[in-house]
């Protein structure tokens, strides 16, 4: 009963967090601010997952995105220092055109998205750990193995790409 009152409040807070952090990533002055706002956006998306009841996916989101990908991007930022330049030079030549194209499509899609409704039989579904684990390891076992091979290939590729040529 009280949950029905509290849930929209959390949803509104998380939405504000996600949208403002996303806008901050695109518009921020310094690249480290962009990286940390991106991490904040990831945390808010994890909050959205918890609100939907998918707590295992939320834990994985924080573990992988905030814990690993953000650190990777911060490493990348630190190893590529650049000359400071004027703020206007951050944006490409086609910025006005991109804005004109993207904004109307975004508004249209967002308004269209509101027409989706819950399936009529969707009740409280409970924890998502067991169905998720069963699906991944039983129904989708082969894609799981392919994903692990992909990770191995990516790891080897990344190591080879950044190896210096020993003179």
């Amino acid at each position: 009963m009280t949950y029905d009152v509290v849930e929209p409040i959390f949803f509104a807070l998380l939405t504000i967090g996600i949208v403002s952090a996303g806008a901050g990533v695109v518009l921020a002055n310094r690249i480290t601010t962009s990286a940390l706002l991106m991490a904040f956006s990831f945390l808010n998306v994890a909050g959205m997952f918890v609100l939907l009841g998918a707590e295992t996916v939320a834990a994985f989101q924080v573990l992988i995105y905030v814990g690993a990908i953000t650190v990777l991007i911060l490493y990348g930022v630190m190893f590529t220092p650049q000359q400071p330049r004027a703020y206007g030079l951050f944006f490409q030549k086609q910025t006005p055109l991109a804005a004109i194209v993207v904004v109307p499509i975004a508004i249209f899609v967002a308004l269209f998205a509101f027409s989706f409704r819950d399936a009529p039989e969707a009740g409280a579904k409970g924890h998502d750990l067991e169905p998720l684990a069963t699906s991944v390891f039983r129904d989708f076992g082969f894609p799981f193995e392919v994903a692990s091979v992909l990770l191995l290939a990516a790891m080897i590729g990344a190591i080879v790409l950044v190896k210096r040529d020993e003179e």
């Binding site: 009963m1 009280t2 949950y3 940390l36 834990a59 573990l63 905030v66 911060l74």
Partner: protein, 375 residues
């Protein structure tokens, strides 16, 4: 919605309960840190054949308060070229996940903050958020040594997460649930998981030492190496927060080890008086904290490349083998745990014998090379 005590309205009780839980966790961490700071200095002193703090209070018991008063009184210096908001935020980013970990730790049969069904996954997730805080601390200090210390520490933490998680997964395979309360309840009486999976405990302990930046893996904060690594520019209360975060993390790692391998609250007389479980849990956790301190006083520090090769070349193959053997044996003999136990103890014995064997071979070959070079 649970009704509060004395018939409190659930709407008031739920946030009040959260606030009480947070205050309890903070109190626990601070008091634990008070005890641990004193214990660390006394134990290091005793092992190093000296006396340690003696004059502040009886047996030096008030030393921690003296330290705290000194830290609070220090000037809050912040170098001008540091990034202001990141510099100020970094200690909080390192401290918060550690506090949030105490919510799933089972102290006694009824006393747990929240019985999450993904309790262990939640703890692992929080452990990986600490890395972000350390990278930010190293970068925001605008100091070459801090940056190198921060990046090295981040690399160390990320690398050692893998054996840590693999050890935890081995126990979860055996127990069948990720919930901390469930794991604690699956070890009645003397049938603790340590008897079945000792190698997982050993690898978890070593990885936990590295995760908390403790000796012998404390290169990132070593005073003799990179000044103080990523902590160089932090002084006074800000340094104290990092310090508290480290001790709190040591407590969390010990608490996880206690829950998973030593039957969290189980001990004599717990079924009669459930609250007694808190005492057993605290005793077991502090035993492991003392082992952390014992190791710190005894072992020398590892270099960064030795540290990394220990993780990737020794611990990860070991934990992977352990996981493979455990899962195969659990599938082959679903009803009995004895084959898994036997295999694990054999692997532990092999690991224990392999270490001196390989070290002796390396020493011999090193001596050979030195002799050949001198000749």
């Amino acid at each position: 919605m649970p009704e509060g005590p004395f018939g409190l309205d659930p709407v008031i009780w739920a946030p009040l309960r959260l606030i009480i839980a947070v205050l309890l966790a903070v109190g626990l961490v601070f008091n634990g840190a008070l005890a641990q700071i004193y214990l660390e200095r006394k134990i290091q002193a005793i092992i190093q054949d000296r006396i340690g703090p003696l004059h502040t209070g009886p047996w030096g018991l008030l030393q921690t308060f003296a330290d705290a008063i000194k830290l609070l009184g220090k000037e809050d210096i912040r170098a001008r070229l540091t990034d202001k908001w990141f510099f100020l935020a970094a200690p909080s980013i390192v401290f918060s996940p550690m506090i949030a970990s105490f919510v799933v730790v089972p102290f006694a049969p009824g006393i747990v903050g929240a019985n999450l069904n993904i309790g262990l996954l939640y703890l692992t997730t929080l452990g990986s958020m600490t890395v972000l805080g350390i990278v930010i601390a190293g970068w925001a200090s605008n100091n070459k040594y801090s940056l190198i210390g921060g990046l090295r520490s981040a690399g160390q933490l990320i690398s050692y997460e893998v054996p840590q998680i693999l050890s935890l997964v081995t126990v979860v395979l055996l127990v069948g649930t990720l919930s901390m309360v469930g794991i604690a309840e699956s070890q009645p009486d003397w049938r603790i998981n340590f008897l079945i999976l000792p190698l997982a405990f050993v690898t978890y302990f070593i990885a936990g030492l590295a995760e908390t930046n403790r000796n012998p893996f404390d290169l990132p904060e070593a005073e003799s190496e990179l000044v103080a690594g990523f902590l160089t520019e932090y002084s006074g209360m800000r340094w104290a927060i990092f310090f508290l975060a480290e001790y709190g993390e040591v407590t969390v790692v010990s608490a996880i080890a206690t829950t998973l391998w030593f039957g969290a609250w189980h001990g004599p007389l717990t079924d009669r008086l459930p609250l007694l479980g808190v005492i057993w849990f605290t005793l077991k956790t502090y035993f492991f904290v003392l082992v952390f301190m014992w190791i710190r006083a005894t072992l020398p520090r590892l270099r960064i490349d030795q540290l990394m090769s220990l993780c990737w070349k020794v611990l990860i193959p070991l934990t992977l083998t352990n996981l493979m053997v455990t899962s195969v044996l659990l599938l082959a003999y679903p009803s009995s745990r004895i084959p898994v136990a036997i295999a694990n103890w054999i692997l532990l014995g092999l690991f224990g014998l392999a270490v001196p064997f390989f070290q002796r071979r390396r020493l011999a070959s090193l001596r050979e090379r030195l002799r050949a070079a001198a000749a």
